[in-house]
């Protein structure tokens, strides 16, 4: 379905104003983009996260749609349970089939780390659900601790940049590929900076005949150390440097959704963020080269997979 800006701007918001996200956070932006893309009624679950605490502080709620939070690692199983109940009640004729879509939201900590097994289980069992990871590359809600999504060299409070060790010492987990390897109908990587692409992917995800996974980069002014107005710009640079390629795997077909005319060097993305500041000291500059090498290696492999090499 073609996405028209005018139409989506006039749609009733599902996540409403009054939430307590930080100024400049990408999460509410990408969440509204995803939910506005979907016309069907939705049921949401949410992992313990910034999103959870910013939108559900009792006795208020920012949600105009059914929403549940259970714990940190189980947003996937929770929504899978709701989806199983829906299927059961519809099959038994106890309720009407109204085409409900089931969506789970989790941060990178909930998705790459603590909740990986739960999501993997849900995907193997084929629940008709879409899991969205808002990847801000660390445990931001608890005060910026490293996750397996945190990139090499980034300063976090548990991978601090010291005088000897320059931030996180490992690269990141190839999570989108891991879920593509589950051979589910739809897996995609997206960015709020290319909203039309993200919204298309959200539509494809909920239309898929089975599980879908969206990994969306979500710049965090507090954790990445950038100005609030820079979030979308940084998401854009992540795409243009090929650090965060936009691609999808639809029924096993890998497709690149955006190929920059000119691939920008990773340094233009790194230098805008305080979490990489220490890398610009002479003794740690080699880490920038290592990051570039990782980005290049992953990009080349992706091009090959997408038949673009």
């Amino acid at each position: 379905m073609a996405i028209k800006l005018k139409e989506i701007a006039n749609k009733e918001e599902r996540l409403v104003a009054g939430h307590r996200f930080c100024a400049g956070c990408a999460e509410p932006i990408l969440t509204r983009q995803i939910l506005n893309a979907i016309d069907d009624p939705v049921v949401l679950s949410c992992a313990t996260s910034c999103m959870e605490i910013a939108t559900s502080i009792y006795p208020y709620s920012s949600w105009r749609v059914p929403w549940i939070h259970s714990a940190f690692e189980n947003a996937s199983s929770t929504i899978a349970g709701a989806e199983a109940m829906y299927r059961s009640l519809v099959r038994q004729g106890k309720i009407e089939d109204r085409g409900l879509k089931f969506i789970a939201f989790g941060g990178d900590g909930a998705t790459y780390d603590i909740g990986l097994q739960w999501i993997s289980g849900c995907f193997e069992r084929g629940h008709k659900m879409m899991y969205v990871c808002f990847d801000n590359e660390a445990y931001m809600n608890t005060g910026i601790q490293r996750s397996s999504a945190t990139p090499l060299g980034a300063h976090t409070t548990t991978s601090p940049a010291g005088t000897v060790i320059p931030g996180k010492q490992q690269w990141r987990k190839p999570l989108t590929e891991i879920f593509a390897a589950h051979h589910i109908p739809y897996v995609a990587q997206a960015s709020p900076s290319r909203w039309r692409d993200l919204m298309n992917k959200a539509q494809k995800g909920v239309a898929a005949d089975g599980p879908a996974f969206l990994n969306v980069i979500a710049p965090c002014p507090r954790g990445w150390r950038h100005e609030p107005e820079e979030a979308i710009e940084l998401a854009k640079l992540a795409v243009e440097t090929c650090y965060w390629p936009l691609y999808e795997v639809e029924n096993g077909q890998w497709k690149l959704n955006f190929k920059p005319r000119e691939k920008k060097p990773i340094i233009v993305w790194l230098e805008r963020q305080g979490r990489f500041r220490h890398l610009f000291q002479p003794q740690f500059r080699h880490v920038i080269d290592e990051i570039q090498a990782k980005v290049d290696e992953e990009w080349e492999r992706l091009l090959e997979r997408c038949g673009e090499a």
Binding site: S56, P66, I68, A71, N74, S77, A80, G81, A84, S88
Partner: protein, 398 residues
Amino acid sequence: MPKSKIRALDGAHAVAEAMRQINPDVVAAYPITPQTAIVQTFSNFVADGLVDTEFVAVESEHAAMSTCIGASAAGGRVMTATASAGLALMWEVVYVAASLHLPIVMPVVNRALSAPLNIHCDHSDSMGTRDAGWIQLYSENPQEAYDNVIQAVRIAERLLLPVMVMQDGFITGHGVERVDVLDDGTVKGFIGEYKPEHSLLDVDNPATYGTWDMYDFYFEHKRQQTDALSKALPAIVEVGEEYGELTGRKYGIFEAYGMDDAEMAIVVLSSSAGTARMVVRGLREKGVKIGLFKPRVFRPFPAKEFAEALADVKAVGVLDRSIVFGAMDGLGPGPLYLELCAALFAAGNTTTRVADYVFGLGGRDIIPAYVEQVAQDLAEIAETGEVKTPVSYLGLRE
């Protein structure tokens, strides 16, 4: 009396049979010894189209309870079953289920916790979750496990609280006994239709479940939760009476055997009550004033009722099948003893003396001689009014 059929079933199969008759909308479960017979048998029912249930064969017990939470919030009947490490693994979300007031029913086949690894019966698993906000019912034999599971559905949905139904691993779970199985229509009629007040699937009236709750409201919410549990006993009794009228098997909050003029009492949960009953019967024949007191409900703990029932008893021997590590200077009493002492103390009882006997850990057999030994101790305690050893261990090599 409704139609029923006498069958030879072990406790696990009896519970699976109850689950078939309950026909839950969703069952999410993970296999663990000695609960496996429940999920396997239920899987067969699903495979043969005997239930309408959406069966979710999850990848862990934490996922089982997480799936049950989502499913129950979505407004249908939900069950799972577990044991031991499985219950321990789901501990976090066992709390979530109760705190969200989700009427999930969970049979538990009691088994010891690691380490060392042991697959046999004790009550460490369910006792580990005794403070999680669930109603806990303990069953002596396959018949009680079957009856309790059916009643649990009514209790849970009436109180909007989840219910655990315990039976002893292997002893009851794998022990084949005579079970009076009701006909399907009778069970269906007894449990009725479940009509949830709220549902996550109600997109026309969207609700937010499981909010972020700070110091300005959290405390009140926890208070409301204890309040809900404090109102549970009358409902449990009412359902038990109604079940009794229907089946001839009436259930209350405890069973008293030979307690009318008893000066001594043995208090024990689940299958070991059978052994204790036999010993008590023998002693009664010899004129010893001893009785058996078998709690059925452990949560909420019926403190007033228990204190009242034991008010005139001089000496009580509690048989505990788990240890509260570190309690009472590290003597290692069990939770039943601690709760019962607190109940007697709160009731102002200064005359009833209580001694605790930890037994049967990791499936160690309890034999009549051990219970006779307890009875001998109690006779001395009743006479002297003195408890020389507050916590002892039965059948332990030392």
